[in-house]
């Protein structure tokens, strides 16, 4: 019985390590999805001259269909903002954007910097002319790119680190209590 318990504890430590590593990978995936969505959003605004609710709805649908869990969250976020813009027309776009950002699930792996960049985008989108929209989105893309470059550089070593730490912790538990 003792050994079964120890094995469970060791397995939990290893799984924890893998989960922590997986979170980093998910963070990259989410950031990449947001990046891709912004490129599409730029296209809808500049090429199709769509208003924000139209563009957000279009892009949101594209990125939430056929996806589930955390991966669908980015698309759903756009759809929620678009719906509220239609329902609460008198409310500032930046407020809706901010409020909907707060509705991200707490377990969504997004860094403080990623969230801050997203919030800044929401504060400036819709303001002034088309060139300003383009520049606002390009600014976000630049930030996302530098975040992604950092994350991609770190992810390999961190993943290895978290996984090794998990396994080491599991072995340590086994050695210590066996």
């Amino acid at each position: 019985m003792k050994y079964v318990g120890l094995l469970c504890m060791a397995a939990a430590a290893v799984t924890g390590g893998f989960l922590a590593a997986g979170e980093w990978e998910m963070r990259i995936r989410l950031l990449e999805t947001f990046r891709q969505m912004m490129v599409y959003l730029k296209g809808r605004i500049l090429y199709a001259n769509e208003t924000l609710p139209e563009a957000l709805k279009e892009v949101g649908e594209r990125f939430s269909t056929g996806k589930s869990g955390q991966e669908a969250e980015t698309g759903r976020f756009f759809l929620r903002v678009a719906r509220r813009m239609e329902e609460e027309q008198g409310k500032l776009f930046s407020e809706i954007w901010k409020e909907e950002m707060k509705r991200f699930p707490p377990e969504l792996p997004m860094g403080t910097q990623d969230l801050a960049a997203l919030q800044t985008l929401g504060e400036n989108l819709g303001y002034a002319d088309r060139i300003t929209q383009e520049r606002t989105i390009l600014f976000y893309l630049e930030q996302a790119d530098s975040s992604l470059a950092f994350l991609k550089k770190e992810v390999e070593s961190r993943t290895r680190l978290y996984r090794s730490m998990g396994m080491a912790a599991g072995l340590f538990i086994l050695v210590l209590f066996a």
Binding site: I45, N49, E50, T51, L52, P53, E54, M85, E88, Q89, G90, K91, L92, F93, G126, Y127, A128, D129, R130, T132, Q133
Partner: protein
């Protein structure tokens, strides 16, 4: 008063039976509403925790400063309203703003005045917006029924020009003419009608779908400059009738002429009090001389929008048959 409350209260009013034609909002001035009975001032009343609008005839109320509850527009109200109308996307209305208006959902036109921002001699946008003029679009089904027999012979539609001053109901009449020509009726079979709706007023397209009924054989090119749109429709949609609102500049007249020479019938509107006034404009004088149109319908806003004052044939002779019916 903030823009959201203003919008909600107005929406509530519109749900009623009121026939609003125009709402004028000017910085520091009372909000004025023009309905079928005349000009009104807008008040608001807080009763039992509920805020609602009150409309008072302008002659029954003093326009002076002592009406505490009269709604006076301020800059933030105007800016808020423009934000709502543009769906927080002013950038998407750059071209319209440069022309001094926005067309909002439902095909209503919002005229804007303020400080024009120019670039290279062209108006780029308008800032410091000081006045808004909301012109409410109406869909009056059947308003063209009386007119149609004068515009059609043996099932063939005559090239027709509707002439009217602003606010005389030409777009409303045009819309119903398009619908009836497209659907067909006792006068003949329905026709393929192509509509070039530069200002989104005729079809009131929202996300590409016409909000007004333009008939089952109608194709709409929304938000497209008229001259280019007419040529595009001719090339791509093979229309039997081409419909455009408020033609005026040289390019548009050229495109119109081209369409007429392609075997397509034209239904167009133009600003003007009557045919004589039109004759004073050189480009139109040519068109009238060339007898490009076979029917001229002159509208008036008096006693009510949509009043048909006169119908002329291609020789600019008044149609006696119509006169007798009036």
């Amino acid at each position: 008063m903030n823009a959201e409350l203003f919008r909600r209260l107005l929406e509530k009013e519109f749900a009623g039976e009121r026939w609003v034609r125009e709402i004028r909002i000017r910085v520091g001035k009372p909000v004025r509403i023009l309905d079928k009975d005349g000009e009104k001032l807008l008040y608001f009343e807080k009763a039992g925790g509920e805020v609602r609008f009150l409309w008072k005839d302008i002659e029954k109320t003093a326009t002076g400063q002592n009406n505490g509850d009269v709604i006076r527009a301020d800059r933030s109200l105007i800016n808020g309203i423009v934000e709502i109308f543009s769906r927080h996307s002013l950038y998407a209305y750059e071209r319209e703003l440069g022309q001094g208006f926005l067309t909002i959902r439902g095909g209503h036109r919002v005229g804007i005045s303020g400080k024009a921002v120019t670039e290279g001699g062209q108006i780029r946008t308008i800032r410091d917006i000081s006045s808004l003029n909301l012109r409410i679009a109406h869909e009056v089904r059947g308003c063209a029924s009386k007119l149609l027999p004068y515009l059609v012979c043996d099932g063939e539609f005559f090239d027709t020009l509707l002439i009217a001053p602003p606010g005389a109901g030409k777009t409303t009449l045009l819309r119903d003419l398009i619908r009836q020509l497209s659907d067909g009726g006792s006068w003949g079979d329905g026709k393929n009608v192509s509509v070039v709706d530069e200002r989104s007023e005729i079809a009131a397209c929202f996300e590409g779908i016409p909000q007004c009924d333009l008939g089952m054989r109608t194709d709409v090119m929304d938000g497209c400059p008229k001259a280019e749109g007419m040529l595009m429709m001719l090339r791509s949609m093979a229309p039997q009738i081409l419909a455009v609102d408020e033609v005026g500049d040289e390019e548009e007249l050229m495109a119109m002429r081209y369409g007429m020479n392609c075997g397509c019938r034209l239904l167009a509107t133009v600003h003007g009090a009557d045919v004589r006034e039109l004759m004073k404009r050189p480009a139109w004088k040519e068109i009238l001389k060339e007898k490009l149109f076979s029917r001229y319908v002159v509208l008036s806003g008096v006693p009510a929008p949509g009043t048909i004052r006169e119908i002329f044939d291609e020789e600019l002779r008044p149609m006696e048959k119509w006169r007798k019916t009036v």
